[in-house]
Symmetry: C3
C-alpha cells in the first residue's frame, strides 16, 4: 500500500466537499528577498516600510502575489495534481494585506462538477479561501480545472456549474485597513500619473523585457511549495523541457507593469486569468496593459483601475490581444483581468 500522495481524480470530488490543504506556511522577509531577486518589482508600497506607513498601513505588507502564490500552491496536491489543464480563475479578492509573520493555510470547497463528454475527464470548480493565524480571511478565489478520471467507468456526477461573475464590481473590493493616498508621494513612487490620468480603453506598452532562466522559475515555484512535476523535472514531459509555472508569468508581468503603472500600488482583485501558451527558459517576456474600467473607492484618495495585463513572448508594440478567428495572437502568454488601487 503506497504512502505517497497520488492526488485526487475526478471521481474523488463531490459537490460541497471541503478540503483542508496541507502545510501551513509562515511568510517571512526571506520570501520578500527572494521575490525581489526573481522579479523586477519596484512598487513603492511593498518595497518601503516608510511608504506603507505614510499610506496609512500599520505594518508593511508583502506583495499581494506572494500571498496569492503561497495560498494557491497549497491547493495543487489536492486539486490539480492530476489536472489536464487549469481552465480559469474568477472572483479572487484580497481581503487584507499579508504581513511577514502571518501563517497562511488554505481550504477549498467543491462548488461545481461536470464530466466531459469523452468520459475520461471532468471539470472541477473550487472556491478556495486562505486564512491567517487569527482565522481571518486573507484571500479567496474560485478556479476550475480539468482533471483525469482514475477509472473511466466511474459514474458521472450530476452536472453542476456555479455562477461566477465575469468581474467583481468596484464596491466588492476590500480596502486595506487605514489605506489613505491623500498624502501620496509621487516622486517616491516613481511616476506622476494619477488615477485620473488613465482613460478606459488606453493601452500601455511596458517596454521592458526579461529573459527567463531555469533556476529562477524553479526557485519561485518552490518558494510557493507548488509541487507540480512539470516545472521541475525534465523527465516529466516528452520534450524534456521544464514548463514555467503560470504564476511566474503573472508575477513577471506585474513587475514589468511598473513602467507605466508605477502607481497601481496594490492588487485588490483578480477577475479572470488565462494562461494562453506555455513559457520556457530562454523566452523573453514583455507586458502591456489595457485600462478596462475605473471606479472610486471608499478609501481616502484611492481609486480603482480595472486592468487587462497581458504578457507576451517577444515584444508586441501593436498590443494585439486576439488575431484571426478571435484566437489569442501568437506570442500571448497571459491574459489577466485585475483591479488595482492607485492615487486619485
Amino acid at each position: 500500500m503506497t504512502k505517497t500522495n497520488p492526488g485526487n481524480f475526478f471521481e474523488d470530488f463531490e459537490l460541497g466537499q471541503v478540503i483542508e490543504h496541507a502545510t501551513p506556511r509562515t511568510v517571512t522577509d526571506g520570501d520578500r528577498g527572494v521575490y525581489g531577486a526573481i522579479y523586477p518589482t519596484r512598487f513603492a508600497l511593498p518595497s518601503s516600510g516608510e511608504f506603507a506607513s505614510q499610506s496609512g498601513l500599520d505594518r508593511p505588507p508583502v506583495e499581494e502575489l506572494i500571498g496569492f502564490h503561497i495560498a494557491f500552491g497549497k491547493t495543487v496536491p489536492d486539486v490539480s495534481l492530476n489536472a489536464v489543464a487549469n481552465l480559469g480563475y474568477a472572483e479572487c479578492r484580497f481581503h487584507r494585506p499579508v504581513l511577514t509573520g502571518d501563517t497562511l493555510r488554505t481550504s477549498s470547497e467543491v462548488i461545481g462538477l461536470k464530466q466531459n463528454s469523452n468520459g475520461k475527464t471532468g471539470v472541477v470548480y473550487v472556491r478556495s479561501t486562505a486564512t491567517n493565524q487569527r482565522d481571518e480571511v486573507a484571500i479567496e478565489w474560485a478556479r476550475w480545472v480539468m482533471v483525469h478520471k482514475r477509472n473511466v467507468d466511474a459514474p458521472a456526477p450530476e452536472t453542476s456549474i456555479p455562477t461566477l461573475a465575469d468581474a467583481l464590481t468596484a464596491d466588492q473590493l476590500m480596502m486595506p485597513h487605514g489605506l489613505d493616498f491623500t498624502g501620496y508621494d509621487f516622486a517616491a513612487a516613481g511616476e506622476p500619473h494619477r488615477w485620473g490620468d488613465y482613460e478606459v480603453g488606453e493601452k500601455i506598452d511596458h517596454v521592458d523585457g526579461v529573459t527567463l532562466s531555469e533556476a529562477e522559475h524553479m526557485m519561485a515555484t518552490r518558494l510557493w511549495q507548488n509541487t507540480a512535476k512539470v516545472h521541475f523535472n525534465t523527465e516529466a514531459r516528452p520534450d524534456g523541457n521544464r514548463l514555467v509555472y503560470g504564476g511566474h508569468i503573472i508575477s513577471m508581468a506585474r513587475a514589468l507593469s511598473f513602467n507605466g503603472l508605477a502607481n497601481a500600488q496594490l492588487i485588490a482583485a483578480i477577475n479572470a486569468g488565462a494562461h494562453t501558451a506555455p513559457a520556457f527558459a530562454g523566452d523573453t517576456v514583455y507586458a502591456w496593459s489595457e485600462v478596462l474600467d475605473k471606479a472610486e473607492t471608499s478609501a481616502p484618495g484611492v481609486g480603482a483601475l480595472r486592468l487587462r495585463l497581458v504578457a507576451t513572448k517577444g515584444r508586441d508594440e501593436s498590443m494585439t490581444l486576439r488575431g484571426e478567428n478571435n484566437k489569442y495572437a501568437p506570442g500571448v502568454l497571459l491574459d489577466l483581468d485585475l483591479w488595482a488601487l492607485a492615487p486619485l
Copy 2:
C-alpha cells in the same frame, strides 16, 4: 609570504588538537527563504510557526539541515580543503533546534589519524561541535576525510582509529524542549501516516524528481559559506564541470521524502552517510527510503523512525541499493542513515 589560506595537510593534524573554525554565522529568515526556494521542502513544523507552536515549541525552528550545513561548512577551510575524499559521517546528533537569530560557530577535535600505506595521504577523524551564542551545543558529529600530505617525507603519526557507533541508539536522541505530538494535526501536515503505520523493512518510493541547475547548487553551497572550489569553478576540474555539493543532494533527498514521509517532521540524528557518486547540473534526482528501525521516545506522542534515505540519479522504482558484488547500484548518489521524529 602568502596571506591566503592553504588549508591543513595531513601532517598538520595531531591527535587531541582542537580547531576553532572561522566565521560565526547568524541564522536569519533569509536562510529560510533561500532554502525554501532551492529545495521543495514542505514539512509543516519548520514551515509554519503555528504548527511549531502547536507542537510545543516556543519558537519556530529552521530545518535541521540549515543548521547542519552552516555548521559543517565552517569546518571545510581547516579540515577538508585538501581532502581527496569525504569518507564518512557518524554520530551526528541535533541537540536543540536552531532558531533565527542564533549565531553558530563550530570547533573540531582531532580524534583519529591513520597514514595510508602509499605514504602520500592519510585519514583524519574529527569530532565537530556547533554551539550557539549561549555556548549551548546545537549539533555535534564525527567525520573522517582522506587528506593529502604536503610533504611525502613527513613522518607518519601513530595510528589511532576512534570507535564510532554504527548508529546512535534511540535513547541517545535528544528531544527538542517541549516537543509534544499528542495534538498533532495530520491534515495540516499533509499525510495520515503515523509512526505506527511504518514497518521495519518497508520501502517508500518518493516518486517526485528534480532536475539540478548550476545556479541553485552554487547558491545553496555558498549560503553555508562552504568554500570548496570544485563546486563553483569550472576551471577546478579537468572535465570543466562543477561538482554538486554533497549536502545539496542530502537536502534535496530530504525534501523529496516529504511525499510518503510528511510526518517525519524533525531529524534527530544522522547515523551514517555516504556520497556514492558525483552529481552534476542536468541530473534529475529522485529519492526512496527504507525503514530500518523504530523506537519510542521520551517526548509525548513522539516516535522515532530510523530511515535509510537514498538519492538516485533517475528514478529507480525497484529501490535497489546494491547490485553485483555488493557495490552500490548504478545511479545511487547518496546513502544516508538517519533518525527522524514522527507522531505516534
Copy 3:
C-alpha cells in the same frame, strides 16, 4: 502620450538640478540571505551578530555593498538609462552602517556637464546621497556617465567639470559609531593578519575563482531594483548576451578577497572604480589586491588599508594591472580603489 519612463537625455540635465529618485527600499534579512547565496562572502562582522556586538556595534549591519547597490540602483532610471558608458566613481563614503529595517532613498545633484565634441553625447557628473528613514546620510558618492542626447541639435550647456579627489584621505573616513577592534577575535575572523602585517605595495592573489551563471547575476541585479535592460534581456544587445551588472563583479571580487584579507571587515570608502571589460555568464572571476596606503583611524584598535581590488576573467598569478601602452591587461574586469577597516 506615453506613460512609461524614457529616462533623461543629456539635454535634460542642468547644473545644480536635484533629482529625488524613486522607490524607497526597506532592507531586510531577505537581502542578507540572497546576498550570501550569490556571493561567497565570509567577513565575520556582517556574518555574525555576535562578532558585530563584540566589535562595539549596537546592531549587526549588512554588508556595505548591499547598501551601496540598493542606493546606486535607484539612480539608474533617472541618470543612466540612456547612458553609453559609466565612466567612473569617486568620493564614495559610507557614513554609517545600514541595518535591517532601514529604508533607503537616494537623491542626486548634477555637479558637472560637458558635451562631447561629436555633439551626440555628453558627460553628466552627479553627486548622489542615500539617506535612511531618519534622514541620516548613509552613503554618498559621485559618478559620471556618458549620456546620449535626445536631439542632436539641442544647444550645448556651458562646460563645468567638478573637482573630485583622486582618493579620500584617511581622516575623511567615517568610523561606525562604537567600532572598537581592541578585543578582536582573529580565530573567529579566519586569518591572523593584522593591519600591521600589510605593507604598502604588497600584492595578494586571492586564489579562488567563481564561474558566473545567468540566474545569479540577474537575481543580484534585480535585488537592487536596477533596471538596465542589458542585464536581463537577450534581445537588448546585438550579440544576444546578457551583460553582467558591474556591481556583481564588485561584490564577487570583494567576497573573493576574503582569502588573504579576511580582516578587512568593513569598507569605509570607494575612491575610484573602473569596469574595464564586460563580463558574461560562463566567465570565471578571480581577484587580487594591492595595498596602496595605510593609516590609523580615530576608532580604537582600527586601522585603514587603502586597497586596489582587481577582478580578472581567469586567474592571473602575475597580478598585472596594465600591459602594453599602459592599457589594462587582457582579462582585467574591474579596477576598484577602496579603503577598508582592519584590526591594528
